[in-house]
């Protein structure tokens, strides 16, 4: 076992992506080496934080996992071009904005979160979506009220047969309680 253990090897170990023999050798080394063990622990902290992290766009499976985990979620259906309203009550953990549209032929969905009036935008590519339901789920979290103040526009673009097609602009007016 190379010491220090390459970062990539530690990543694969934490993600259960190492062949069994390599994994066993690594574990033996970590048991004996304080330096590598500390590096592994730091990576483990990062990995567990990332597992707890809820991205701005979640899959339906992820939403179901959060529900099963007891998260209190309010779903708000949102159609393109029509302002929707969502209130983040104190007893909620998460708002989920359900952006609806025809995704039946979508190969990929990209999302731009923007506030044109102040000039900021975040582009998220390959976001999860449900083709059959025609839904993209925005996971709006309480701290977004500070991180992304105001009411952003969610601009959805679909890729169909290699061509980009705007699906629409979706806007949710938030009320933070």
């Amino acid at each position: 076992m190379t010491c220090p253990v390459p970062f990539e090897t530690l990543v694969r170990w934490w993600l259960d992506d190492l062949p069994e023999a390599e994994s066993a050798a690594l574990e033996e080394h970590l048991f004996a080496c304080d330096t590598c063990s500390a590096a592994s622990e730091r990576l483990g902290d990062l990995a567990s934080s990332l597992r707890e992290w809820i991205p701005p766009v979640i899959s339906h499976a992820h939403r179901d996992r959060l529900t099963r985990a007891g998260k209190r979620i309010r779903l708000t259906p949102v159609d393109a071009g029509v302002d929707a309203h969502a209130r983040f009550d104190r007893d909620l953990d998460l708002l989920v904005h359900v952006l609806r549209g025809d995704l039946s032929r979508a190969e990929r969905v990209d999302l731009e979160i923007t506030r044109p009036e102040v000039g900021w935008r975040i582009v998220l590519e390959h976001v999860p979506f449900d083709r059959k339901a025609g839904e993209v789920l925005i996971a709006c979290q309480r701290h977004y009220g500070d991180v992304f103040p105001g009411d952003p526009v969610f601009r959805v673009t679909v890729v169909e047969q290699g061509e980009r097609r705007p699906l629409g602009d979706y806007r949710v007016i938030h009320e933070w309680m």
Partner: protein, 72 residues
Amino acid sequence: MAGEWPRVNRIRLEGCLRGLEARELVVVTMTFAEDRTAEEISEALSLTAGNVRVIRHRALARLRSCVEDGEA
């Protein structure tokens, strides 16, 4: 709201995640939030599993530097 995350500050981590390249963010999201393997991600993104592993470990190395040292 659920309890705070262990050890890594949530706001800082989100700032670091925003510093990743789009493809890195997709791979990190699929890996951790979607719990998908390198092989599954490679199919979804039309990459090789090896490419996915490289993107993944580079993204994590950048995140580690960012959360530990404040370097994006």
